[in-house]
Symmetry: C2
Subunit: 419 residues, 2 copies
């Protein structure tokens, strides 16, 4: 075993040792620790900014592009906002200890399922240092130990943040070793995390498609995948015209760079002539490029012609693909073929079409008469967001605190033996 | 791509095509199909037994060991029992379509989570042909398409069973292609299944530790692991003596070859002298070999001395490791160190110790005053059992129909756009 492997396994072992204690902590103790961490961040804001400056200097010297530099850079406001994030968590209900079901068997056994922490969670992420604090807060709130692996360009900032957070725990009931940072930049460390089944219960990759694919393909540890969103809105023949125009503009323009923005509009042939000319103007005014099928270009002559690949592209930009379809069934087939099972919406006033769409579409979030932009933990009212899962196992769609928990059976008996 | 890969991907594609239809089926339609399949099995019993004889003949010629031959062999009763299994599923409530939660947001959006099928499930299993029928029944009941990969020694039997089951679907609303059999024996087919993420939503390995390990290490498709059970019972100082003796004997002897049988007994030092001499006699009478620590051998002189490896061994046999511990904390540490997070039980009359044990032990099933042998889908009242998951993600402990389902968010709006 290489020394990097040994180092990572040591972190795993140390985190694992805290899990019995973590699982038994009362909410009060966890909340108290969150408040202490928040106070410590604010108190040490100058040290954090100083170290962050060094990371920024190195990053600039290495010629890292400006969007990454922007994400890496901290200021007083950003540090205070990290602290506020921890205080927000204090207000959320603790999911741990909830008995979600309990029943009595004919032999008198009382069998229940209680919500418990997963154990040790690892997260691999890129340059934003606020993820460090968020992830620590979420894991402590849910009674999990965490192993953090941030981007190498943020390493000194993350080391400082973790040092402050760990120090803040020394006066609390939360064991310091519940927070572990991989403080070496080598990529071999990531490989070691992906194979550390004996100490890790979950691995969450947060970052670009390349990182996520690497983790899916190589990890033997269970993974939650947060993936792409090639989201559709289907305007049915019975849709309300004004409302449809507003929803399309919102779903495309309000924040085009995110996974729940709409990428393809499907429109029923009967309503196309009534909406497309106006919608074309709306989109043009908003600076949106349109890539349409032949029929779309009849109503929006300036639209570019869509190529086959447009139907499967997540633009994350001010570009919208539009296709005229003959009916709901064609829309459903298109979504089944090109969709990424993220967020899909129908705009309609027809009861049966609304019901059929809700039943037939296989996606994390299926909407009637609303913008796809609501697929988000805060918008859904979960109070926190760990990301949007595009897998079906364990957690699907926006993930709140419960995604970091599991259930265990508890059984109360009075001497039962199996016949 | 090799021809085997192409063949498996073709099965995946065909299964995937049925998922929209499968997800929309009413319970009545699925139950009708289950009844037709049951009738078809009974009607074709002679054909099944004839083909099974050929498989048995080949297996004997190849020198396959008698326990496997026994598992492979069918008779009229076993075929009727497969049909009865399908009829039992008809009686169970259909989990699909249940809205498990629904709430209203301040902006008027109504957001719910509805239970839906996973999509396409594959199962890799060994020689028992009844698993073929069970797995098909469970997947159809839950609206999933299934891809079956049985043992090569049962291939002709499985081909015949699947042919009969598919034919029975031709007069039903369930698409025939919802059942797919890998009807080639090559191991490369298993490798192809493990990498077929675009068509498979879940892969379940059912079989020996070797198979499960191979799948965990190689599959990029999400897996549910059913693993080993190194189960403990801790007899606390306050335990009831008579009841404890009965529970230990039950947990060890009633069926020693299964994963929920007890493998190590931990006993509080204060109660050891009061129980061990009698328990020793009970175990001797039941033919159980004891491997004990030094203190155990004071009370049961004929016990063998336990070696370090005994504490981590799943005997699956009439052997019991016994260790005297100084208190509950030592028992908890021992379980945390050697347990496999399957089933753990405390026998006690002390309220605080019962509560602490329930909280502190990290396992799929944690008992107070009952035999570990109850960890089972039927015993828990789930009505069906897909196996006992020893992982924490998605499903933990005995798995019923819900383990083959996921949740999707459904959102009812009336024109909401994100601010």
């Amino acid at each position: 075993m290489s020394s990097i492997n040994e180092y990572i396994f040591e972190l795993g072992k140390n985190a694992k040792k805290t899990t019995t204690c973590m699982a038994r902590l009362d909410s009060d103790a966890k909340n108290e620790a969150l408040l202490q961490m928040a106070a410590a961040l604010e108190e040490k804001v100058e040290i954090i900014l100083e170290v962050n400056k060094e990371d920024l200097k190195r990053a600039k010297e290495m010629g890292i592009k400006s969007s990454l530099i922007e994400r890496l850079s901290l200021n007083e406001e950003r540090v205070y906002s990290m602290a506020d994030g921890l205080r927000e968590l204090v207000k959320l209900a603790d999911p741990i200890g909830n008995v979600v079901k309990m029943w009595r068997r004919p032999n008198g056994l009382e069998i229940g399922q209680v919500r418990v922490p997963l154990g040790v969670v690892a997260i691999i992420y890129e340059s934003r240092p606020n993820v460090t604090v968020d992830a620590v807060g979420l894991s402590i709130k849910t009674g999990n130990a965490i192993i953090l692996r941030g981007g190498s360009e943020a390493l000194q900032t993350n080391k400082t943040l973790v040092k402050i957070l760990r120090e803040a725990l020394t006066d609390s009931d939360v064991p310091v070793d519940a927070i572990q940072l991989v403080d070496i930049p080598e990529r071999e460390a990531v490989m070691a995390l992906m194979k550390m089944n004996q100490y890790l219960d979950l691995l969450i990759p947060r970052g670009g498609a390349g990182l996520i694919k690497t983790v899916i393909n190589n990890s033997t540890v269970p993974v939650i995948e947060t993936g792409v969103g090639n989201c559709h809105i289907f305007i049915d023949s019975s849709a309300e015209i004004e409302s449809s125009r507003q929803i399309i503009i919102n779903a495309k323009v309000q924040r085009p760079s995110v996974c729940n923005a709409v990428e393809t509009l499907l429109i029923h042939q009967e309503i196309a002539p009534k909406i497309l000319p106006f919608l074309g103007e709306d989109l043009k005014a908003a600076g949106v490029e349109i890539r349409g099928c032949q029929q779309v270009r009849k109503y929006i002559p300036w639209a570019k012609e869509a190529a086959e690949e447009d139907w499967s592209t997540e633009y994350l930009d001010l570009i919208l693909a539009i296709k005229v379809v003959s009916d709901l069934e064609e829309a459903l087939s298109h979504i089944a073929k090109y969709g990424t099972q993220h967020s899909e919406s129908i705009l309609t006033t027809d009861y049966n079409n609304a019901r059929n769409f809700l039943h037939a579409v296989d996606a994390a979030a299926v909407y009637v008469n609303a913008s796809t932009r609501f697929t988000d933990g805060y918008q859904f009212g979960l109070g926190a967001e760990l990301g949007i899962s595009t897998q079906k196992l364990h957690a699907r769609g926006p993930m709140g605190l419960e995604a970091l928990t599991t259930l265990k059976y508890i059984i109360y008996g009075n001497g039962q033996i199996r016949k």
